[in-house]
């Protein structure tokens, strides 16, 4: 296990170990069927599903921002590809 997905609705997982490029993402339930396309720093986020530009990035089952670029599974998800978005809640 090298990553943790908090909620089944999430499209990102959190690396709980440093993940190398080409390494498989392994969650509590087993392999996520996703390979890291780049190095993922420990505790940073990795996409476990494709996220199209403009779509919400989902963690804790909630929206944490909008994708500012198309994000492929296995990519590092952070400030370079996520934009702030204040929702009316």
């Amino acid at each position: 296990m090298n990553a943790m997905m908090i909620d089944p609705k999430d499209n990102v997982a959190v690396a709980i170990e440093p993940i190398r490029k080409g390494e498989e993402i392994v969650l509590r339930g087993g392999a996520a069927g996703v390979t890291a396309t780049e190095e993922i720093t420990i505790y940073h986020k990795v996409a476990v599903r494709p996220i199209a530009k403009g779509e919400p990035v989902v963690k804790y089952g909630e929206h944490i921002g909008l994708a500012s670029a198309d994000i492929a599974p296995g990519s590092h998800v952070h400030t370079h590809n996520v934009a702030d978005h204040r929702e009316v809640l």
Partner: protein, 387 residues
């Protein structure tokens, strides 16, 4: 479950037995510092405020001063004012007397005849108070007498995954024991306010949760600023937190799972035996902690991801982290490694036992890392610029 504490004449129970040398304004702060340095068990802080403030700002400062004096960790207070400041001695003393009947002495520098004469008089008074305080004997009290403040600072993604859920577990246990747990940091409810609002014990409390979040955002917008400008901080981002919403969704885990039974304004008195409550404080740690301590909390449990040294003059601050690398790097500043919540072997529930035992030990007198280092930094929240 019991701890050993100090019974106060106003009915509250303290976990420390300090003499507070309280500067009524910035102009009395250095004098207060000299006095505190001469008396065993005395504490003080640098009060940046107390003068040239608009009404709402001054009220916050007065509430922190009165709340500190009333906090049950304080045996008695020696107030030192300059004499001409807006926070006049009679105003400060009246605010303290509204909250507590504990020992109180007052010295005005301009009336005593300058710093040296004030120091002489105030040191004598504080020394006598310290001698009286030293005669107090600890007694066993149920954990339900505790008001625990919760805080997160220097957060990273482990805060939302491990340390904050562990604080939430402690919060749930304190609530079931009949105590009080305070969730704070309004700016870090942004993006998660709907989750907290669903847990309001009444529709009014739910609405108040939305109101304090919107009020905070609006207040910053009025002066042309944006809450996101400094939040998440560079360290939060380096750790892997991307947006304020992500930080907030991790932050609110400190509140556990019980209903929110009250929402208090900054530094206002918090009721004991109230269950989970919210205080409207900034995300800035030293001022948020100061607000809760002024509210009467005796112990603060503080999670960190990046590692922070924060202490407080009168309340012990228990530091925990879910980041195994940070604990290894900053063990001198952090009391408890919460990373087993993520990696095992202990479960969240088992780690809850560990944290409750630490809370009980610290409440009974065990020094936290921040206390042992003598750390007392704090700040008072503000509304706007000085006038």
């Amino acid at each position: 479950m019991e701890f050993l504490g100090y019974r106060r004449p106003d009915g509250r129970v303290g976990v420390r037995n300090k003499i507070l040398i309280l500067p009524a304004s910035v102009c009395a702060s250095d004098t207060a510092g000299i006095v505190a340095g001469q008396v065993e068990g005395a504490v003080t802080f640098h009060n940046q405020n107390g003068c040239s403030q608009v009404g709402a700002d001054q009220q916050m400062t007065v509430d922190v001063m009165a709340g500190y004096a009333a906090n049950p960790n304080v045996y008695g207070t020696v107030v030192i004012s300059l004499g001409c400041e807006n926070c006049q001695m009679d105003l400060v003393a009246a605010a303290i007397r509204e909250r507590t009947n504990k020992p109180l002495e007052q010295f005005i520098i301009q009336e005593c005849g300058g710093t040296v004469r004030t120091v002489e008089l105030a040191v004598r008074a504080a020394r006598e108070m310290a001698a009286e305080a030293s005669r107090m004997q600890k007694e066993p009290f149920p954990m339900s007498e505790l008001i625990v403040g919760t805080e997160c600072g220097g957060s990273d993604p482990t805060s939302g995954l491990a340390s904050n859920p562990l604080i939430g577990e402690m919060s749930d246990r304190m609530v079931s024991l009949g105590g009080t747990s305070i969730l704070s940091e309004t700016t870090e409810f942004i993006g998660a306010e709907h989750i907290l609002a669903r847990r309001g014990a009444t529709p009014e409390i739910s609405q108040r949760i939305y109101d304090i979040v919107h009020r905070y955002e609006k207040a910053l917008q009025l002066v042309g600023e944006e809450v996101r400008a400094g939040n998440p901080s560079p360290g939060n981002k380096a750790g892997g937190l991307t947006t304020l919403e992500e930080k907030s969704l991790g932050c609110i885990h400190k509140g556990g799972h019980t209903s929110v039974n009250a929402v208090y304004d900054y530094a206002k008195p918090v009721e004991a035996h109230k269950g989970l409550v919210i205080m409207d404080t900034p995300g800035n740690d030293p001022s948020s902690v100061a607000g809760m301590v002024a509210g009467g909390c005796q112990v603060v449990v503080f999670s960190t991801g990046r590692g922070t040294p924060t202490g407080n003059p009168i309340a012990p601050v228990i530091k925990i982290t879910g980041n195994k690398l940070t604990f290894a790097k900053m063990e001198d500043n952090i009391d408890l490694d919460a990373s087993p919540v993520l990696y095992g072997p202990q479960s969240l529930e088992e780690m809850g036992d560990v944290l409750m035992a630490e809370l009980q030990a610290v409440a009974s007198g065990k020094l936290t890392k921040a206390e042992a280092l003598g750390f007392t930094e704090m700040a008072i929240a503000r509304v706007c610029n000085y006038v």
